[in-house]
Amino acid sequence: MKSLSTIALMAMGLLFISGCGDSGLGGGASQETSVVVLPADLLTDGAADPVEVEPDSDDDGTAATGNGPGNFNGRVVLTGTAPAIGPIHTQGANIKDAEVCAAIDMPNEKLITGADNGVANVFIYMQKAPKGTPKPSPLDEAVIFDQKNCRFLPHCLVVPTGQLLKVLSDDTVGHNTHSYPSRNNAINQTVEPGDRVGKLQFAYKSSEREPLRVVCDFHSWMIAWHLPVDHPFAAITDADGNFEIKDLPPGDHTFTVWHEAAKGKFVNRKLKITVQPGQTTTQEIGYAASQLEL
C-alpha cells in the first residue's frame, strides 16, 4: 500500500534526523559513561548486620559437654533393588587403544556395591569444619593419582588443600588429565605413557563444595572424583560401604553424603549426628534405590 511505504520512509527519515546517536534517543555507542571508583576493601553495604553467632552454638560442635574427641563411623547401605550394571566394555572389545584399554573388563564404577548391599565410593564430609579445627598439614610425600588400563586409580579421592598430587600412568598409551573444579583452576594436561615419576604435579588451592570430576579427553569413559578439603573430617566408603571419621570434637555435626549415581548427586545434604566425648557414634546411612540415576 502506498501509505505504508510513506510511513516507512517517514520513519526512516525521522530516525535519520533524530540522529539515534549523540542526542535524543539515548546516544547508543557514543553515549557518555561515568565511572565510579570504588575502594579495594568494600564494606558489604546492603547486607544486614551479620547474624549474631551464638557462642558455643550446637552447630559448630564446640559445645562443652566434655573434651575428649569422639569418632563417627558406619556404613552406607543401599535399600531396595539396585539395577545390575555390566562393565563399560569387556575384555578384548573393539575399542580405541584396545590392547591397553580392553586388556581387562572395564568395570562401571558408577555404582559399586559390596557385602550386604554396602555402597562403595560414597563421600561423607563436612562442608565447613567447626571453628578452630586445625587445617591438615600437607604430607611430605605426594598423593598418587594413577591410571592403568585406561582407568583412574583411585576412582575417588579426598585430598587436603595445598597437598601435592602426582599424576602417574601405567599405560603405554597417552592420557590427559582434565579437571572441572568450581573454585580451583582447572587442569588440562597430558600424561606421558609409563610415567612412574609423575611429571604432572599440582595441588588444589581451595576446598570445594562438592567433589569435582576429573576425566581423560582421549578416553571418554575415564572419570574420577576429587574432593579437596581444608579440614580432616572427610571420608570415602570402602568396597563394602564402611567409613570412619576420627577425632571429631564432641557435639552436634552436620555431614554431607554425596555419591555420583544419586539424583542431584546428594544422597543426604544434611546428615546430623551427635558425637559424645571419647565415644564412637555409629550410623547406618540409607541410600534408597529410588534415588539412583544411572
Partner: protein, 469 residues
C-alpha cells in the same frame, strides 16, 4: 485540502510512533546476568528483605554501562591519578580548597575543570554515587587544589582520592560499544545481535578464558595477547583486525574494557557458583523432592546471605585479582627453552611420527592426515556441568560449542602462524577447548611437531612430508 493534510499527517503520526517505539528506557543499555546467576532460586538472585542477593553484589562492584564502576581491587589500569587528602580542612563550612598529595603528581593547571573523586572516607560510599568535586586549579608545589564549588561532606586527612578516575574505561566503553558490542554483546557475553549468524561464535568473555594466549596453561590471558588479537584479528573467523582503525591508545582502552567485562563475568559466575550447589533452581527441586520444605531452604539461604557471603565475596574477589595480575608477569609467558629446531625433512619426519604416535595421539582428534576428522569427533559426550548428553557428536568446549579440531591442511592458524605461536598452542593447549597442554613434552619434540604441522598444507599427498622434486 483536508485530504492532503490527512495523507501527510497520518503517516507522519504513525512514523513518529514507530520511531520512538523501539527506543524505550531512554536508549540506556544494561548488562545481562549469566546463566549461573539466572539458574539460582529467585531469593538468591534478588536477595531476601534487606539482605543483598547475587545481582546486587555484582551491580555494586561493576555498575551498569552508563555508570561503570571500577573496583580498585581489580588489576585494571582504569586511568586516573591516585592520591590522598594531605590535611583535613579546618573549617567545616565552605570547603573550597584541599591539600592533596599524589603518588605521581599531575602537572600544574590553572584554568581547567577536572573531576576529583573520593574513593574512601566520609565523602565516599560504595552504594550511592560518591561525591565528585570539580578542580579548577592545581598547584603541585603547595599541593593545593582549588574546587569549583564547596563540598557537602568534609573529607579527612588520608582519604583516598582519584583525579580523572576511570578515563580509560570511559573511552574503552565507548569504543567497545561502537566496534565490538554488535558481536560480543554489551556484557561481553558473545551474544550480540550478529552473533547468531556467526560460526564460530564470538567469544563469551564471562568465563575469563581466552583461547589464544602466550601464557602458561593455567594462567589467564595477558594484555599483550589481547592486543595482538585486536591487531591481527583471528584468521579463519569473523574477528577482524582493528589496526589502523584504532590507534595505539585506543587499542589499550579497548583491551582494558574487555578485561573489565571478563572480570565482571568471572566474578558473577564464581559468586553464583558458590550458591549454586545448594540454592540453584535444580538443587531446590531435588531438595523438595527429598522432602525438604521450601521455607527451610529459604531460611538456610537467609543465613548464608547474611554471614557466609562475606567470605565468598572476599575469596572470589581475591582469586580474580591474583589470577589476572599474575597473567601479565614475566613468568607467566611461555618461552621455549631452545630455539626452533631447523625445519628439515628429518625434523618433519620425526614430527609426523610423534603426530601419529599413541603417546601424543594428535591423530585421535586431528585425524591421521591432519584434516580435523579424527575418531574423537564422532563420540557423543555429556556436558560436565549438567550431566546431559550434548545433542551433537564430537568434543565440546567450555562454551558448549562443538570443538572442531583444527583442519591443519588449510594452513589457517587462528592464534597466529608464527612458529612460536604454534609452540605455545601445543605447550599450553588451547584454553577452554579440548586441546590439552603438552607441557611435559620436551621442547625439541614440540618443535618437531611444529615443523611437521607447518608443512602439512604443502604436502603433495598426506603424510608425504618431504617435498617432491
Amino acid at each position: 485540502m483536508l485530504m492532503l493534510i490527512n495523507r501527510i499527517s497520518i503517516p507522519l503520526f504513525a512514523s513518529v510512533i514507530l520511531t520512538i517505539a523501539g527506543c524505550s528506557d531512554g536508549g540506556n543499555s544494561s548488562f545481562v546476568y549469566g546463566p549461573t546467576t539466572t539458574g539460582l532460586m529467585p531469593e538468591a538472585q534478588n536477595g531476601i528483605g534487606d539482605l543483598t542477593g547475587v545481582k546486587s553484589h555484582l551491580d555494586v562492584r561493576f555498575g551498569n554501562p552508563q555508570e561503570v564502576r571500577f573496583w580498585s581491587k581489580l588489576p585494571l589500569e582504569a586511568g586516573g591519578e591516585f592520591g590522598s587528602v594531605a590535611e583535613t580542612p579546618n573549617s567545616s563550612a565552605a570547603v573550597k580548597e584541599l591539600n592533596l598529595q599524589f603518588e605521581d603528581p599531575p602537572e600544574a593547571f590553572d584554568d581547567g575543570e577536572r573531576l576529583l573523586q573520593f574513593v574512601s572516607g566520609n565523602a565516599a560510599s560504595a552504594d550511592q554515587t560518591p561525591e565528585v568535586a570539580v578542580i579548577v586549579s592545581w598547584d603541585p608545589e603547595e599541593g593545593l587544589a582549588k574546587l569549583k564549588s564547596k563540598l557537602t561532606t568534609v573529607p579527612a586527612a588520608g582519604d583516598e582520592i582519584v583525579l580523572d578516575g576511570g578515563t580509560v574505561l570511559q573511552s574503552g566503553r565507548k569504543l567497545y560499544q561502537r566496534h565490538c558490542s554488535h558481536c560480543h554483546g554489551t556484557s561481553g557475553d558473545g551474544d550480540g545481535p550478529t552473533a547468531e549468524y556467526l560460526k564460530p561464535r564470538p567469544r563469551d568473555y564471562r568465563h575469563g578464558v581466552f583461547k589464544f594466549t602466550s601464557t602458561q596453561g593455567p594462567a589467564k590471558v595477558s594484555r599483550g595477547d589481547l592486543e595482538r588479537i585486536l591487531r591481527n584479528g583471528i584468521p579463519g573467523t569473523y574477528m577482524p583486525s582493528f589496526v589502523p582503525m584504532l590507534d595505539e591508545d585506543e587499542l589499550d582502552h579497548v583491551v582494558e574494557y574487555v578485561r573489565f567485562l571478563a572480570m565482571r563475568g568471572e566474578f558473577e559466575r564464581r559468586l553464583a557458583g558458590e550458591l549454586a550447589s545448594d540454592f540453584s533452581k535444580d538443587a531446590v527441586k531435588n531438595r523438595i523432592a527429598a522432602d525438604e520444605a521450601r521455607k527451610d531452604i529459604v531460611e538456610e539461604l537467609t543465613e548464608v546471605l547474611s554471614e557466609d557471603i562475606t567470605d565468598a565475596l572476599e575469596f572470589v574477589g581475591d582469586g580474580i585479582a591474583d589470577d589476572w595480575s599474575a597473567a601479565d608477569e614475566e613468568d607467566a609467558l611461555i618461552t621455549p627453552s631452545i630455539a626452533r629446531v631447523p625445519d628439515t625433512v628429518e625434523s618433519r619426519r620425526i614430527g609426523r611420527e610423534l603426530f601419529l604416535s599413541k603417546d601424543i595421539a594428535c591423530a585421535d582428534c586431528h585425524g591421521i592426515n591432519g584434516q580435523g576428522n579424527g575418531p574423537q569427533t564422532t563420540i557423543f559426550e555429556k556436558n560436565p556441568v549438567t550431566d546431559q548428553l550434548y545433542p551433537e557428536s564430537g568434543l565440546h568446549d567450555v562454551w558448549d560449542n562443538v570443538n572442531q579440531p583444527r583442519n591443519l591442511t588449510q594452513g589457517i592458524y587462528r592464534g597466529g602462524r608464527r612458529p612460536v605461536d604454534l609452540f605455545r598452542r601445543v605447550h599450553a593447549g588451547i584454553k577452554g577447548s579440548r586441546m590439552p597442554s603438552f607441557k611435559n613434552l620436551e621442547h625439541e619434540k614440540i618443535w618437531h611437531l611444529v615443523n611437521y604441522t607447518l608443512s602439512i598444507p604443502f604436502e603433495s599427498e598426506p603424510g608425504r612430508s618431504a617435498p617432491t622434486e
